[in-house]
Amino acid sequence: MIFLALITNTFREAIQKKFILIVFLVISVLLILFLSFLSLESVESMNEFMMQLGQDSFRDAIIMFQNSLISNIPFYVVFVLLMIMTSSFIPSMLEKGNIDLLISKPISRTNIIIGKFLATNAIIFVVLAYLVGTIWLMVSLKSGIWHFPFLLSIVGFTVIFAILYSIILFTGLVTQNSILTILVNLILFFPITGILSAREQMIYTFVSSGPVKFIIDFFYYVLPKPWDVHAIMLKLIAGETVDSWQPLITSLVFMIAMLALSIFYFKKKDY
């Protein structure tokens, strides 16, 4: 009942702030744009489509096309929008007169944090289900190829978001400021984890010092790896073998550690 209250309230907050509607609108525009490029009515256009993607089999071409839709920059625009949308949830929960009431109820501080975390990820799951589900449905209806593993990306992206949201949660608790929370997370999400994931091509080409490499590797293993988890997800969708689960496991460990740290901080703080 208590978790239900937190989840429904977070949904109401997301709808009221109209951000979720903006996200749905952006997603819908992106879908229409993608669809306008998808012209498979004639045999010539199918051949042209396969040649463009360098695939011999039409099925492979469709799967590759679907995967390219969730690997491109527009998808990450949506992801950033979701991060911006959810960054205000914790600071608004901590506003004076609101947090006092929440803590005064028979719900532990641990459950408040877990409830808010689950509620936010439930919203993201719904948004992603709409985005990915619609892409899948449109491409499948147009091509006649029903590639069900593509739907795994709903769960995959929700997991990636949950990992990143654990940082949003902690920074929101500490700073109580939406803008700072967005900034910290955008910097961490794009430049830092991106560079660390591509450290061998981007840094090690120029740096040969052992200690420096050790420090960079240390940060790589400690920090979340959204890009590498994304790559694992794409491999799973394509039915390829995953070489290493390390990025997913260490990112999940990071998420649990951030959640534990958030709970610890929240449990000690006077409001």
Binding site: M1, T8, R12, E13, E95, D100, L101, P106
Partner: protein, 310 residues
Amino acid sequence: MSVITVNDLRKEYPAKSFSKEKIVALKKFSLNVEKGDIVGLLGPNGAGKTTLVKILLGIVFPTEGEVKVFDKDIKDESYKKKVGYLPENHKYPNYLKGGQVLEYFGRLNGLDEKTIKSKTKEYLTLFGIEKWEKTNIKKYSKGMLQRLGLAQAMINDPELLLLDEPTDGGDPIGRKHIRDVLLHLKGQGKTIFLNSHLLSEVELICDKVAILNKGELLKEGSVDEITATGNNYKFITSDLPDDVSNALLMQYKATLKSKTEFMYSTESVEELNKLIDFIRSKQILLHNVSLERSTLESMFINIIGEQKEQ
């Protein structure tokens, strides 16, 4: 039965920037509240009233001392099921409608949907805002929000109500309505602990008062005990002739206020009756004899003023 037990409570807040001194909000504070009491906590701004209420609810943690609610240490959060709270300047999520506010807090209290529905209807009606159930709270006046806040605090049918400025923002009729509800709750055996700046209201509602300043408990007792100024009796009579006035002044050490009014101070009921016999023997009519009291407000100002002088 003791509902709130506070012993040697101390609360320190970290120093503000550029200052090394910690802020002491409560110093060795002790208080006991019994079941069914309506207790008013009085004090100027910064006295530590809100800190005390927040400690009682686990919103702020004590630095030292013992705090029990319903004989349970506040670390055991189960006591909160029996507590209702109205914070000062409460802020409900402004995307909610009146009924949704009660539904949300009812769920947080662990109530089932059926109870929430019936309690929502009951309390919105009790506070006269049932027609606004489906209206967004952005459109509520301050007084309506305060009544909704009280309904929220009562949704779980609490045994203890902690209210911070419960009549704040209300017009005189709204304030009286809230007072009546609180007295009705008292009749049901609920314990109410309230912070208020409106001392005249505290005087009307509360059985007991605790006066707090700079984190210290200055005075505690029933409203009668706190407002009593000693055994000063006020006499209102028919016109006093000069010989009687002189006798009152010289013999009885009374203080004349006018031709028809004087004050007499005594600890003895026999002495009081002797004076009445004397007046009656002089064929003077007694219109009224009453024990003089101070108002809570003047007592409060005196007590706080005395502490400032010290």
